[in-house]
């Protein structure tokens, strides 16, 4: 900014050098890895949980109430869902709500950056982190505990994608409806525990009493858990489960989009 030179006439057409979306993604990636809590709970904790179970001999024995699976085998899909729940409910909402609360989105919206690209980067990063965690969990399960890889890979992948979009839509809706970071955290916690229950963190869905399993199947993570179990066993997941998951995803995404406020 020298005093002598006249400012160049601004070009009103987009210049190829400006890549606001990419710049935002790079910055948000740096920020993601600067939150050690999020990185640990999303990317390391679920696999660690599986590893610990694998070291307990009783956990590796086949059990009748788990349909002939060992506890470790039953917990692989649970750990995969756990990482998504951590990403969507614990890690992401405070970030997005905080950005709005502290005027970061507002400041960004005075630049050529579309604020949607900040949100897009957040959703994309958390999705990538939990999918990475899923791969890590499957790999560690296979290598350390000898758990077979999913028999129906495509069905497994489809369920994973639906589940990750669903949980991030839920997280986005929480951010949309919570005026402050504190409220977002409180709402997240109250959705977090039922989600963990439905995903089978406390008790795999195979072990739940019948009535409870029927109810849990209607929740997104219960449906996802059932679909993942079926795909693990080598079957194409039931359309009922995929349908429940898809419907939740649709409703949650639409609501998040409808109610999100930028300031």
């Amino acid at each position: 900014m020298s005093a002598a030179t006249a400012p160049p006439a601004p070009s009103l057409t987009a210049n190829v050098r400006a890549r606001p979306g990419r710049a935002v993604l790079r910055a948000e990636t740096l920020l993601f890895f600067r939150e050690p809590g999020s990185v640990f709970w999303v990317m390391a904790f679920p696999t660690l949980l599986l590893l610990i179970l694998g070291f307990i001999p009783a956990m590796t024995e086949a059990k009748d109430e788990l349909g002939g699976l060992s506890t470790v085998e039953a917990y692989v899909p649970v750990a995969v869902l756990l990482s998504m729940i951590m990403a969507g409910l614990m890690a992401m909402p405070p970030v997005i709500t905080g950005y709005r609360e502290r005027g970061i989105l507002r400041r960004m919206s005075t630049t050529p950056v579309r604020p949607t690209s900040v949100l897009g980067a957040q959703v994309g990063l958390h999705a990538a982190a939990s999918l990475f965690s899923a791969v890590l969990t499957l790999a560690v399960g296979r290598i350390v505990s000898g758990v077979a890889l999913p028999g129906q890979i495509l069905g497994y992948l489809l369920t994973l994608l639906l589940a990750v979009v669903c949980v991030l839509a839920l997280g986005a809706l929480i951010s949309a409806l919570s005026p402050t970071t504190k409220i977002a955290q409180a709402v997240s916690i109250s959705v977090f525990f039922p989600s963990m229950l439905a995903a089978g963190v406390y008790m795999p869905i195979q072990q739940m009493p019948d009535v409870m399993a029927r109810i849990v199947e209607l929740l997104p993570f219960g449906a996802a858990a059932q679909a993942l179990n079926q795909a693990t066993a080598g079957d194409w997941p039931d359309w009922n489960h995929l349908g429940v998951l898809a419907l939740w995803t649709l409703v949650l995404s639409a609501s998040a989009t409808r109610w999100f406020r930028w300031q």
């Binding site: 900014m1 020298s2 005093a3 002598a4 030179t5 006249a6 400012p7 160049p8 601004p10 070009s11 009103l12 987009a14 210049n15 050098r17 400006a18 890549r19 606001p20 990419r22 710049a23 935002v24 790079r26 910055a27 740096l30 920020l31 600067r34 939150e35 950005y99 502290r102 005027g103 970061i104 507002r106 400041r107 919206s109 005075t110 630049t111 050529p112 950056v113 300031q263």
Partner: protein, 300 residues
């Protein structure tokens, strides 16, 4: 050519008009000041100009663009420093500057800007660890980094110490010298007097006066203040008849007169005619502060 044109802008919140028919035009290369007490509608007006708020009615054009309808193009011509907006706390100064630089097609050199704003030593410091003044200077750098044609600065020197404030003022003067038009919201009269070519005074959602800073001072009732103690008593009605006189007070034999340049000449003539000498004669301009209070009726 007016780079910013606002016509009959209106905005209410919950039925209460916050901006109530504001019109202004800012010429290219000008530093235009927006003054007023809190709640006078300054921030709502400038945020409408930036495109952050949608007016209830009225038109706004910035470089011929409608800030709402032509949102994307408007962001390329306006750089803004907002009140109370933060940045990602865990990004360093250099990372924030790069992020914003990469957002614009034709950015300024962020390293030079950082040096100019005294942030050269702080490039690797995270935003959360900056002092209030440093955050403020970074906000100013970010307003300039896109090489905008118009810069909007909302309370730019709030939180700066006097030395940093003067440094920022001289930077703003350089920016203007490079042809950038500046809209400056402030409640520091000294800042307005030093920087602004023209000033609009806001009061209760309206512009109550609009002129050069010195024009405003002259326009207000008490442009010039004359005080003296006459060597012998003067007839009070002779003084009261002085042209341009706004007020007259007498205390312990000392007269204080508020008026205009004309009043000053007339006082001197009157004293000379009556062969009265004036002790402790002082002629001072009232400041923009006085004019502000006078024009907004803020102290009434």
């Amino acid at each position: 050519m007016a780079l910013i044109e606002v016509n009959d802008l209106r905005k209410s919140y919950g039925g209460r008009p916050v901006v109530d028919g504001v019109s202004l035009a800012v010429e290219e290369g000008e530093i235009f000041g927006v003054l007023g007490s809190n709640g006078a509608g300054k921030t709502t007006t400038v945020e409408s100009i930036i495109g952050l708020r949608v007016p209830d009615s009225g038109t706004i054009r910035v470089c011929g663009l409608d800030p709402i309808a032509d949102r994307a193009k408007t962001t390329l011509v306006i750089g803004a420093q907002l009140q109370e907006s933060e940045l990602q706390g865990k990004l360093t100064v250099a990372e924030v500057l790069r992020l914003y630089t990469d957002c614009y097609p034709d950015p300024a050199d962020w390293r030079t800007l950082a040096e100019r704003l005294g942030l050269g030593e702080k490039l690797n410091t995270r935003f959360a660890h900056l002092s209030g003044g440093q955050k403020q200077r970074l906000a100013i750098a970010l307003a300039l980094v896109g090489n905008p044609r118009v810069v909007v600065l909302d309370e730019l020197t709030t939180g700066l110490d006097p030395a940093a404030r003067r440094e920022v003022w001289s930077l703003i003067e350089d920016v203007r010298a490079s042809g950038v038009t500046i809209l400056l919201v402030t409640h520091f009269m000294e800042e307005a007097q030093r920087l602004c070519d023209r000033v609009a005074i806001f009061s209760r959602g309206r512009i109550t006066a609009q002129d050069t800073p010195s024009g405003l001072v002259a326009q207000s009732a008490s442009g010039t203040v004359i005080s003296f103690t006459p060597s012998r008593p003067l007839a009070a009605d002779a003084l009261a008849a002085l042209p341009g006189l706004a007020s007259i007070t007498q205390h312990d034999g000392k007269f204080t007169l508020a008026g205009t340049d004309e009043t000053v000449n007339a006082v001197i003539n009157l004293l000379a005619r009556n062969r009265v000498s004036a002790h402790h004669l002082r002629v001072t301009d009232s400041t923009l502060d006085d004019a502000f209070l006078d024009l907004t009726g803020a102290d009434a």
